[in-house]
Subunit: 307 residues, 2 copies
């Protein structure tokens, strides 16, 4: 079993050791010292472009995370080779906690109380919660639906939006052409969509013109889903009350970005949820075994949907 | 039906209108213009002391919130008159959200990312979550158990401690003499105990000597449950990693308090959860009807336990 890893920005030692703990016969080579002639399964994260068609025996391409846009947008992707992604409970746990953190940071007015502390202000007249709070999950996949379920359990009003029709007995999920209705129902917008042709710059002025005044924006998907100059414009004109962003059009966020100094934008360095190799490695091994024996794969990407 | 309200620090107009919406025959008088000769039920919040034994027809004393220490510690309390408190789903909703906010504020390193933003630092090397995270709920009543249940649903490890034995199939609840074991299992301590003789200054150096290094303290109960100089001492000596406090030994927190300037302490002005009169008023009316007809009361205080 020969596996190659191409993830030059990641520390991959723990991935190698995790593969070897599962099966000491697995041979793992790492880019740039990778065996293009023999590797059958490659694991990718932010790989350099134009390498994928160099592999001679390739049977499976595995993303090392939940996103696959780095693979689909690589023009060297050899058509017909299946692409899979990681679905990880720990990934959902962390992502949902991040989303709840961002929601509660807004809802419980943390910034106000931090400022009051600096000013030694004891204010019992302002309601400590920003109400009403109607949360919209834009993108209702594994991560979005986990957050929706837990927020619903906590007692919040939650609705979802998905491109394709989905059902949930507890949560109303809008779909297709119902995006405008969805946006009119909410005042916290949580974006968990995959990055595809259809979602490029989805969070832009056209969308912000349709939200309720004071809507708070949380983006944990991909930076290129957002138009940052539009976000700043719509916070400054009062349409959006603020934003909590984990992802950016360019990462690391350039020092020149206005976002660093913007008081109504909270940021984290694209680490809302980190793939946990002890969850990922067994999924990759399982899919490798399945591809060899011609079985259906787990979490295979539908290239029509791009996720 | 004659009800009196003694809550000089509160705006009680909405309580009066809520009583009248339920029953226009209810006669509500408000301290200081209160009818000591005829009132049968008094509703109290931070009442001036030494008034309670002036009522001639008193049958029921109702706290306007979840706490009753302001009544039990009033030496004019006429023995034998039942005391009830409010139990309110909205109170639990808000309190649990506050507790989750405080936990996630710590767990997701919000302070670090706020500081990084000021310094324009993009740090992907620090793990974005403080692990492990084992949450202990000290005081397992209506509020503590609601928080424990929701944190458990979110996927966190939660244990509880209660003075008296309690059972929960999902959550291990220590009790009685097991406080030290409970403290050794956790690294986030959430205090939701009532204020009683037994809990006065419970959060002091004796307790902090028994916690794991790095334990984060959250207090949403009563200020006099904590010794603030000990909290500061045990944060500064590294035992506690910080604190998120809604309550203080003296409220409003005096301008002279070191807490205002302490970087590792977050504060809010005793408003984690605000009693919602639309939930409280029907409970008070129901208990008034029950006391008149000799039925068991809802949320009656056990004077032996003081809550």
């Amino acid at each position: 079993m020969k596996i190659g890893i191409i993830a030059p920005e990641e520390k991959v030692e723990s991935w190698v050791s995790t593969f070897n703990e599962y099966d000491s016969n697995i041979n793992v080579s790492i880019y740039p010292d990778i065996d293009y002639d023999d590797v059958e399964c490659i694991c990718l994260w932010k790989q350099p472009k134009n390498l994928l068609n160099k592999f001679k025996k390739l049977k499976l391409i595995h993303s090392m995370g939940a996103g696959v846009d780095h693979i689909i947008n690589d023009s060297s992707y050899p058509k017909g080779i299946p692409i899979c992604r990681i679905s990880d409970e720990m990934l959902s746990f962390s992502m949902t906690n991040y989303i709840i953190t961002a929601i509660l940071f807004h809802h419980r007015r943390i910034l106000k109380y931090q400022n009051d502390k600096v000013e030694k202000v004891w204010d019992q007249n302002t309601h400590p919660e920003i109400l009403p709070i109607n949360i919209g999950i834009l993108g209702y996949g594994a991560l979005g639906s986990d957050a929706a379920d837990k927020l619903n359990y906590m007692g919040f009003n939650v609705v979802g939006y998905s491109l394709n029709k989905k059902e949930n007995t507890n949560i109303k999920i809008y779909h297709g052409t119902e995006l405008d209705i969805f946006l009119s129902k909410i005042n916290i917008l949580v974006c968990t969509v995959p990055y595809t042709n259809k979602t490029h710059h989805l969070l832009n002025d056209k969308l912000f013109k349709k939200v309720q005044k004071g809507t708070y924006l949380i983006n944990v998907s991909r930076g290129k889903v957002q138009n940052e100059s539009h976000i700043i414009e719509y916070i400054d004109n009062g349409t959006l009350s603020g934003a909590f962003l984990d992802v950016f059009e360019k990462e690391p966020l350039p020092k020149s970005s206005e976002i660093w100094n913007h008081k109504k934008i909270q940021i984290t360095p694209h680490n809302a949820s980190i793939t946990n190799e002890s969850a990922a490695v067994p999924q990759i091994i399982e899919n490798y075994k399945r591809v060899i024996s011609g079985k259906n794969l787990i979490n295979q990407v539908d290239l029509n949907n791009e996720y």
